[in-house]
Symmetry: C2
Subunit: 652 residues, 2 copies
């Protein structure tokens, strides 16, 4: 029998040394046992109808759970972010889960952790858990890391339906007259469908006009999108680390040819160079993360721009007739997935947009549902991806702007290891043993690197929230080192700075952190939260404000292409969208090797892309890779199934 604490949560029997993540997960499932997922929902007041079981130890929560509680007060909204990390990661997800365990299972506060769904591709590539780790993780971790409830697969399906629609439309337009196109789009006896009416309205044609009464100009305007092949922006996606798909030429089949207009009898190959991204880089994922409800998602999906016509007009998913079908493919994905931590506290997993080219934050709807469910005295602990210069800034300026929610506290995760790196320690890289600077006490190096943490604290305070620093404990950290980080934090204006040992001890290890977060929320003025910029400023001004205020840059240089795009977006009506800068997470600057707090640097904007559906522009500052590769011995070599028990082996 599992022994429970006074609040009814299981007492963890943590092993030393801490086993691998999958071993901890399987230990919990077998020795402690999972709570039936409906019972997890009941902890925060979800009724049976509001917990739709979806596979093993997972459920989806319908948006009605938010609607039916709309007159109730929200809980305390806490974002977990971090300093600029080493390539090993400093434990943001683990801290998010550990803090939620501390608040829920130890302090007895109603708490829901909200985290992103990880991409399945890298699960089999370079290892690294995404469900938290050690005794601060979501279980069963293999359910969390594989398929989950299919949301990423739905994004793949939606993204690629749109890609096929686009490519095929270009193909049909290349081989058919306006009249033939129109006749096929609006055959006799077939209704003009709702999505077609959207396009007619946009073109200024009466959507109720009988298609047979259209003028030749109207037919042509409606039927020919005239997409410029060199101005297509939509890519296909796969949730697989397949680097050979980064750049490829499609349409080389013997049937993908069109009649030449120049030479009678000749056929031309209808091919085109394009690329794949990993699924979480799809704008559809960004839409999922930022949608308020099904109707809002329908509008956002329909408004996604796939490219531009030869005349420079944006062509949208709705122009291609796809917005409704995309929404249907995403209708289940809009519901967050409910799971549990090793201490049986509730977790919502929802959306996983890239943290550079997108917001890197989990969904608005999951946070909204969580805030209603935990109520006035409860806590929604949500995670922002990458370092605070990117993840937190986007959380405040984009996610909170669209949701209207007001956070009260930011938890900034720091490790002694990463701060030493910022102080000038040798490079840290995955798969290589750590040098002695990191495994032995070195207060001097650490003290030098604390400037990175201090700048993040100052940045967070610009938004009007209280900052709690969580020092994520490694066993080689010394008391003196911990003290150094705390002092530096308080000197920079942190509300508190606390050592946390959740990885090894679960919620009990995060008790002090949880208490500090409670105090920080209590001390926060409800009205203090503010954005860094007004969206109605020009695109360039917004980029400059972020670059100077957050990155500490001297200024911004826009390439010729970026300048052209600024004009195009302002003309297309996208000028007042918030800005989502794509840059490295390893530095405040665009140079990943510039540690600490670089000064005197400038930000170079090579180009600016748009997510007009999701609702932001993303300037590209540095090399951004949107489909990872596999190493020579990828993680999948160690993954197998125990054929007797069905247990998954070797997954982290």
């Amino acid at each position: 029998m599992t022994s429970l604490n006074a609040l009814g949560y299981p007492k963890l029997a943590c092993k030393t040394p801490v086993p691998s993540d999958i071993e901890v997960s399987q230990q919990i499932v077998k020795e402690v046992g999972l709570l039936p997922i409906a019972e997890v929902g009941k902890q925060v007041g979800l009724t049976d109808d509001e917990v739709i079981q979806w596979g093993i130890a997972k459920a989806k929560v319908p948006l009605s759970a938010r609607e039916s509680r709309k007159d109730q007060p929200n809980g305390n909204y806490v974002v977990v972010t971090g300093i600029n990390p080493t390539p090993l990661g400093e434990g943001k997800s683990t801290t998010t889960i550990g803090l939620a365990q501390g608040l829920g299972a130890i302090l007895g506060k109603k708490t829901i952790a909200c985290i992103r769904q990880p991409s399945q591709g890298p699960t089999f590539g370079i290892k690294g858990g995404a469900a938290g780790g050690g005794y601060a993780q979501v279980v069963p971790m293999e359910e969390f890391n594989l398929h989950l409830t299919g949301d990423i697969h739905a994004v793949t399906a939606a993204n690629n339906l749109l890609a096929a629609a686009l490519e095929t439309r270009m193909f049909h337009e290349a081989s058919q007259s306006d009249e033939a196109l129109f006749r096929r789009l609006c055959p006799d006896g077939k209704d003009v469908s709702p999505v077609m009416k959207r396009r007619l309205k946009k073109l200024g044609i009466d959507p109720d006009k009988n298609p047979s009464d259209f003028t030749a100009e109207e037919k042509s305007a409606f039927a020919r999108l005239d997409i410029d092949p060199s101005a297509v922006t939509w890519q296909r996606v796969l949730d697989t680390c397949d680097r050979h798909l980064r750049c490829l030429t499609v349409g080389q089949g013997s049937k993908e040819t069109v009649k030449s207009k120049e030479k009678e009898g000749e056929r031309l190959q209808h091919d085109r160079q394009t690329g794949f991204d990993i699924t979480v880089a799809s704008e559809v994922m960004a839409v999922l993360a930022l949608s308020k409800d099904l109707a809002d998602m329908r509008e956002k999906l329909g408004a996604m721009v796939v490219g531009y016509s030869r005349a420079g007009t944006p062509v949208t998913a709705d122009d291609l007739g796809c917005g409704g079908a995309l929404t249907v493919l995403m209708k289940d994905a809009i519901m967050p997935t409910l799971m549990q931590t090793v201490e049986r506290t509730p977790v919502m997993v929802h959306a996983g947009p890239f943290a550079n080219i997108a917001t890197g934050n989990s969904s608005i709807v999951a946070d909204e549902i969580a805030l209603k469910l935990v109520g006035k005295d409860g806590y929604c602990v949500t995670e922002a991806g990458f370092g605070a210069d990117i993840g937190m800034e986007k959380f405040f300026n984009i996610k909170c702007r669209y949701s209207g929610l007001k956070p009260k506290a930011a938890v900034i995760v720091a490790t002694v290891r990463a701060l030493k790196m910022h102080g000038g320690g040798p490079p840290v890289s995955a798969g290589k043993p750590l040098q002695k600077e990191y495994t032995e006490e070195n207060v001097e190096l650490l003290a030098k690197g604390c400037c990175n943490l201090q700048k993040h604290i100052e940045n967070a305070k610009k938004f009007g929230v209280n900052v709690v620093v969580a020092v994520n404990k490694f066993k080689t950290d010394t008391d003196k080192e911990i003290e150094t980080v705390k002092e530096a934090s308080m000197a920079a204006g942190a509300f508190d700075a606390v050592l946390s040992n959740h990885w090894a001890e679960g919620g009990a290890g995060a008790e002090n952190l949880a208490k500090a977060v409670v105090a920080a929320c209590k001390a926060c003025d409800d009205e203090a939260f503010k954005f860094l910029y007004d969206v109605n400023k020009s695109i360039k001004e917004k980029v400059e404000i972020i670059s100077k205020e957050i990155y500490g840059a001297d200024g911004v240089d826009f390439s010729e292409l970026a300048n052209k795009q600024v004009m195009q977006y302002e003309k297309s009506g996208f000028g007042n969208l918030p800005i989502c800068i794509a840059k490295t997470q390893y530095s405040f600057s665009c140079d990943p090797s510039a540690k600490g707090v670089p000064t005197g640097h400038r930000i170079t904007v090579r180009e600016i892309r748009s997510c007009a559906g999701a609702g932001f522009l993303y300037p590209i500052c540095g090399d951004i890779m949107t489909i990872p590769g596999l190493p020579t011995r990828p993680g999948f070599y160690d993954v197998d199934v125990d054929l007797e028990t069905g247990d998954v082996l070797g997954l982290f």
Copy 2:
């Protein structure tokens, strides 16, 4: 309140004319109401633990449901197949569902219908339901047609992980020495993983030998797969109708280059022409359909051949280190999905392999579970794809051979429409109105076409099962026409021939068909079932037997390539696999326009491909398209969401 019949099933209030499939589905859900899925399972004795809810009105049934009943007798095994169809389809799925409703809800026999999961791609392309139709369908049809429980998405993920592993391995081998490859595959301090031991065993190297003791030859043999780029057989997949992916060149990115061996300092693009298939054409799907359990699936997935080395050795998924990871990705997919018909009878949906290049049959495990659940007096009604010359032949010779299950009856679905076409009627094509030959009585034309049905009846009897002909009723059929079909059926040796009106009336419309099936099963000798060929015959002999006995061909011509492949497969140990011929479903011959019963024709085998993991060889006889295109106005134009209710609109 829904009124129930004496057996406890809902009485259907069928509308005339029958509304669209989605309207019927939504009518049933709203007016009749669904049974909670656990209750559906209880009808056939499934306990709560054996029904894992998986989304809305769907559940997965674990394989333990079969293991725990292994000493119980099987039910009656009935396969539903059809004549060579028109492009509109003659209603095999609808008859499968309607017959199961008749057996279950009307006759009160424990019955489970087993059907394939449809590909989601075509759902948005050219319309056509896959959940049955009218009042003989699986509900909710939108849940059935979209995502289901994610099995196809799992196949996509597994197939493409293997593709990425293959492509990246070729890339790494092109740029690394044997020594470097080996060092990366077996780094110091890292265990030789179970999948690596499989490869070592295959190479005759002691799997427990310490890697540091390997000779240079052993290192090289282990680390270098030396895949011949021109002999790669594995393709990527997507569940999307994207014709421009049929043929493409991958690896054109600036980082996908390798050092030239000829010219110092030069780098060569590591590109390659390849293609995508639609996901259901993946061998992973064929494996899912033919696996007996998790352990068997592990072996089959690991044994899939992705190509050949320069020395002509088959390279498998296990050689690439992927077999375990693929199994982990497919661990939930191996569980069949439980849903319900409009009359609340149970349906199992599982696997959906292509009917030409694969078996076109739903899974072995679903049928096995169903047969145990319905028990001695019950019925498992399973569907075989395409016409009986392909689907039924593969059902008997491949699926039943691997499962060891013995069918008792074959239901051959015929329509007056298709038989008239076989009698010489004008072409029938999707989207065009039917000519008067089909809408008015024409007994002469019909009588001429009945030969097609008669040949299928004779074929089925060669396997020792009783044949029941189901004439799927259309409202234009006349009594005289129906009588003609019945007489022709009985003359050819059918056990019975029955008119069935399940599309318009549900189970009540199939009552007579159900009674005929019960009688046919009762009259069948348990030991009568036999295969058409011995798998130990040569590849060519097996192809010839099928061609002569089933297709009525005079003989078979093998191309030079096919002859070479026969030798290669016999050398590789694949010679004793059963044969899965890929040809048109529209004719007994390879010419889709040859209607009726063509004679004097020969079968031309252009090439022979292998599914060594799934366990069959597939000779290519005719043009086989493995990724459909989209028309100018695809089905997605009509699909949308009712933003008030969340209802799906316009899906069929």
